[in-house]
């Protein structure tokens, strides 16, 4: 395969390994994806959906595509420290490739399959063809790049009516000692009619490593299926993280996703939900906490196509230091999507004079029978509340921490998975205990 020299940036010099492409459809899909990138280039600030995303560093670092078995320092201790062990099944990927020695496979109910993308490519590749061939590599260069490079990730299939009680944990760990690495995990989750599972994606790595995670997760829910999804992004501040979570919902299905962004120098979490069947419900929560020089981008597109679907978005950010946040939430209600109910709320707390938030709610509505609300707020700590706490003897720094924590806590409280909530409470509390206190009012 030819590297796409025509496009800008060093990423263009990368050539996919020919993983799995004794399959002609896969080779073709990878080729098409790269060709598309070659024609269209990487997104720039001129693109509506990338207007506020700081991509320059990703396009200038000479990343190498990670290969199986790369990562020499990774250990069970590091992985355990970076994720919470929820006890059930746990797939660990190192630099985007399955690491059996750190994973735990438990017995699952009949009809539930939790395995790796690589093993499906090796045994029943036809199951993946629709995901690679029909991915509109077109719309988005990084998703196309994932098409071209993805070799492994999680593959989950729940047959009709199957419920997996224990949460399914996916840990994506990076170890880029040898130099800047790009990993391209690709996960596919297929929930047949009436099935139900809880899935957690965690992303972490080793401090000071320079790497780029370019992840794509696709979820397909059939009628009456339910998936509760969580994502914890806690990559080191020397890493870059771009992720696309693509969801397609059938009639009366339920999808929820709670995302917490703590790490990375530059992170973007994009969620695209297609409400294709009537009466489907989606609920998206997000917390983002950029500080220092971090940039956290939440881009959401919810496409109301079918009738009587409900969507909720609740995003909160705390911005400190020179941190930069983006909330770009787009709701589309198509012609004929009568009875749509769409709500969006974004609140931001700015702690320093140098922090920045771009918040952009977008509603596009092509039907009359619709209920939509949206709101965006940007504020600072409430001086009156600070004074109140201080008059009770609570020192300034602690009073500030308490108020910031409270702002985030309301979101953390919405996480129903108790061990995960406890872990996040700790991560968030640690973050604000040592957060930079830029201005003394």
């Amino acid at each position: 395969m030819t590297p796409v020299k025509a496009i800008g940036g060093v990423l263009a010099d990368l050539t996919p390994r020919r993983g799995g492409d004794n399959l002609s459809w896969l080779a073709e899909a990878r080729f098409n994806a790269l060709e598309w990138v070659g024609q269209h280039g990487f997104p720039s600030r001129k693109d509506e959906d990338w207007k506020y995303t700081r991509l320059d560093p990703i396009l200038t670092v000479p990343f190498e595509a990670a290969i199986t078995g790369s990562g020499l320092r990774v250990s069970a201790e590091l992985i355990n420290a970076a994720s919470v062990d929820l006890g059930g099944i746990r797939l660990v990927f190192v630099n985007g490739h399955f690491a059996a020695q750190f994973s735990r496979l438990t017995e699952l109910p009949a009809g539930a399959l939790v395995t790796t993308l690589a093993s499906v490519l090796a045994t029943t590749p036809e199951r993946l063809e629709p995901f690679f061939s029909h991915t509109p590599g077109g719309r988005h260069a990084f998703a196309a790049f994932n098409d071209a490079f993805a070799e492994d990730g999680a593959f989950i299939h729940l047959a009709s009516g199957v419920t997996v009680d224990e949460p399914i944990q996916l840990v994506f760990f990076s170890d880029a000692e040898g130099g800047p690495l790009m990993s391209s995990p690709r996960s596919v989750i297929i929930a047949d009619a009436g099935s139900h599972a809880t899935i957690i994606e965690s992303y972490a790595g080793i401090n000071n490593d320079i790497y780029f995670t370019n992840a794509v997760t696709e979820v397909v829910l059939a009628e009456n299926a339910q998936i509760d999804h969580y994502k914890v992004q806690n990559e080191p501040v020397t890493a870059f993280h771009l992720a696309l979570l693509k969801v397609r919902q059938g009639g009366n299905s339920r999808f929820s996703s709670r995302s917490v962004m703590l790490g990375s120098s530059m992170a973007r979490h994009e969620v695209r939900v297609l409400l294709a069947g009537a009466d489907a419900e989606v609920s998206l929560d997000g917390i983002y906490l950029p500080q220092g020089e971090q940039s956290h981008d939440n881009t959401i597109f919810i496409d109301h196509v079918a009738t009587n679907c409900t969507s909720h978005q609740l995003y909160r950010g705390v911005l400190d230091g020179r941190g930069h946040g983006v909330f770009n939430g787009h709701i589309m209600v198509r012609h004929g999507a009568d009875g749509s109910d769409a709500h969006q709320q974004n609140k931001n707390l700015i702690l320093s004079d140098h922090a920045e938030i771009d918040t952009r709610p977008r509603l596009e509505i092509y039907t009359d029978d619709v209920k939509c609300t949206h709101g965006a707020a940007v504020g600072q700590l409430d001086d009156e509340a600070l004074l109140y706490l201080r008059t009770r003897g609570i020192p300034m720094a602690q009073a500030r921490g308490l108020l910031v924590y409270a702002f985030v806590q309301e979101m953390v409280d919405r996480i129903e998975l108790v061990p995960l909530r406890v872990q996040l409470e700790k991560l968030v509390a640690d973050r604000f205990a040592k957060s930079e206190r830029s201005v003394e009012p």
Binding site: A385, L387, T391, G393, I394, P395, M396, A399, A406
Partner: protein
């Protein structure tokens, strides 16, 4: 305990306090009355260290220069304000808030901090003073509380922090007669010879329940008249108009 000397406070080029003189001794209750805009609440704000005022004159508290201290240092030194408008703080639990506050004070005094269990029993006992429902401990600070509940919550906090000098700013405002009685009895239970209180109010009514040793009338940023508790009754009967000569002295029309 507290000696206020020629205290002046200006905000946005407007002088609100125009030379306040006042002295409180331990065990005494002083009431400050006066019309709207006379500077009563500003005096409370300055005493607890609210930002934004240009100050002159002096305030001596137990031998220290009070004006040099931050709000939290004043709290640590034993000063407490029951706010006229208690602040709602979503997401911060009432009990966690008070435990953090009490432990900050205890740490400052070199005392051992209370753990959640010990604090809980202490806090519950103190709630009885103001007939508060224990469920209020699990709610966010003042969030969704009625006016009366907020005021009771202030007195509960005072009962926990056990200040040396308590300032009650319009604690009676917005209370019906039953709530007023409960709040006042909580305050009275906290009266003791080591503790001074400064009770700011509009209405004589509160002083039927919290009987002061001294009553001061404030007008146009000064204390224009001082007396014993009978002064409050006089004000009730004649209004502030009866004090015209004093008001005239400070150059303000009645």
């Amino acid at each position: 305990m507290l000696k206020i000397n020629e205290l002046r406070a200006t905000i946005d080029n407007k002088e609100i306090l125009r030379g306040v003189n006042l002295e409180l001794k331990a065990g005494e209750i002083h009431a400050i009355m006066g019309p709207n805009g006379s500077g009563k609440s500003t005096l409370a704000s300055v005493l607890i260290g609210r930002d934004g005022y240009e100050l002159s004159g002096s305030v001596e508290y137990e031998g220290q220069d009070l004006l040099a201290l931050s709000p939290e240092e004043r709290a640590a030194a034993g000063i407490f304000l029951a706010f006229q408008h208690p602040v709602e703080i979503p997401g911060v639990g009432n009990m966690y808030f008070m435990r953090t506050a009490l432990n900050s004070l205890r740490r400052g005094r070199g005392q051992e901090e209370l753990d959640a269990v010990d604090f809980l029993s202490f806090a519950q006992e103190r709630m009885k003073l103001v007939e508060m429902d224990p469920t209020f401990m699990n709610r966010s600070v003042n969030e969704g509380f009625s006016g009366g509940e907020k005021k009771r919550n202030e007195i509960w906090q005072m009962a926990i922090l056990e200040p040396k000098l308590a300032i009650l700013d319009e604690t009676d405002s917005g209370l019906d007669i039953d709530a007023l009685r409960i709040v006042a009895s909580g305050v009275n239970a906290l009266r003791n010879e080591g503790r001074a209180m400064l009770v700011i109010t509009h209405h004589q009514r509160l002083l039927d329940y919290i009987v002061p040793d001294y009553v001061h009338v404030m007008a146009a940023g000064q204390i224009v008249h001082s007396g014993d508790k009978s002064l409050a009754l006089e004000l009730e009967a004649n209004g502030y108009v009866g004090l015209t000569p004093s008001l005239a002295q400070v150059g303000v029309a009645p």
